[in-house]
């Protein structure tokens, strides 16, 4: 092995330009929402600028048979990994997060639906995103999202809308992650415009 090969071996592999099913769904929701809503409402998950890359919303295909509807894992860096296996029991997930001191409102939004009213808050904290991608190792264990509770300041609340599609082995999920500094309207599911 020459020096070049040895150095190359030390480098991380180049990221794959692969759009996971969950990210695909999220992006489609974003695009379709943008073109169907007038006036344009705030994007649910602006993956915006490079600086936000690590905090951008993440989604992935979720597979599952029987078992828990979700899993919550504390990470050494203070983030929390949430995996959704079945589109049910958002209240339980919300309670799990709050038990960790993570003030969050959790809703599940099936395909073709959206939360009403919009906007749910008039005090969104701009530029704050608290969902980031899982590690590749985590993705192998199913879809999930790394959430950073430190992004939620005193008196603020994270508003997490998990967009879910399909069920069981084919379930896919995306996330809308925003932070509100004031009251948040309850999510009533209504049909999304075709």
């Amino acid at each position: 092995m020459n020096d070049r090969d040895e150095l190359a071996g030390l480098l991380s592999p180049a990221p794959r330009p692969h759009l996971s099913p969950g990210r695909f769904l999220l992006l489609k929701e974003r695009v379709m929402s943008d073109i169907t809503t007038t006036p344009r409402r705030p994007r649910l998950v602006p993956v915006a600028v490079a600086a936000v890359a690590a905090a951008a919303a993440t989604a992935a295909a979720v597979f599952l048979g029987t078992g828990p509807a979700y899993a919550v894992t504390d990470n050494p860096d203070g983030t929390i990994t949430v995996k959704i296996y079945q589109a049910e029991d958002p209240e339980g997930l919300q309670a799990e997060l709050r038990a960790r001191g993570f003030n969050a409102i959790v809703d599940y939004v099936p395909e073709g639906k959206k939360c009403s009213p919009q906007p749910r808050s008039t005090t969104w904290v701009e530029g704050v995103r608290l969902a980031g991608p899982q590690s590749e190792a985590e993705e192998d264990g199913g879809a999930g999202f790394r959430l950073d509770p430190s992004k939620v300041g005193p008196g603020q609340v994270a508003v997490l809308e998990f967009m879910v599609k399909g069920s069981g082995l084919t379930l896919q999920a995306g996330i809308s992650d925003r932070v509100s500094a004031g009251p948040v309207a309850e999510c009533t599911l209504v049909d999304r415009a075709p």
Partner: protein
């Protein structure tokens, strides 16, 4: 591409646009990733591309081949964040 789909796109048919997205979003994303080297920015470029495509849908000719070159062209010139778009217009 099916001429009727082109017509539906021109007419602002959301379902037709969803089909367009389904067919080409991954290719646009891969192209955008090559341009930006960043997943998040590639998603932004992809979203911007389809947004621009929607607003430019009346430019779609009634007949023709794949709309892929058109979309990739939009992606190449789409804004890429605060450090500057690749716009050439």
């Amino acid at each position: 591409m099916d001429p009727s789909l082109r017509a539906r796109l021109r007419d602002g048919d959301h379902a037709a646009f969803a089909l367009l997205f389904d067919e080409f979003a991954r290719q646009v994303y891969a192209h955008a990733f090559r341009l930006t080297g960043d997943r998040a920015m590639a998603e932004d470029v992809t979203a911007a591309t389809f947004g621009l495509a929607w607003r430019s849908r009346r430019k779609i000719k009634p007949d023709g081949d794949s709309l892929r070159p058109w979309l990739l062209g939009i992606a190449t010139n789409a804004p890429r964040g605060p450090r500057g778009p690749a716009r050439r217009d």
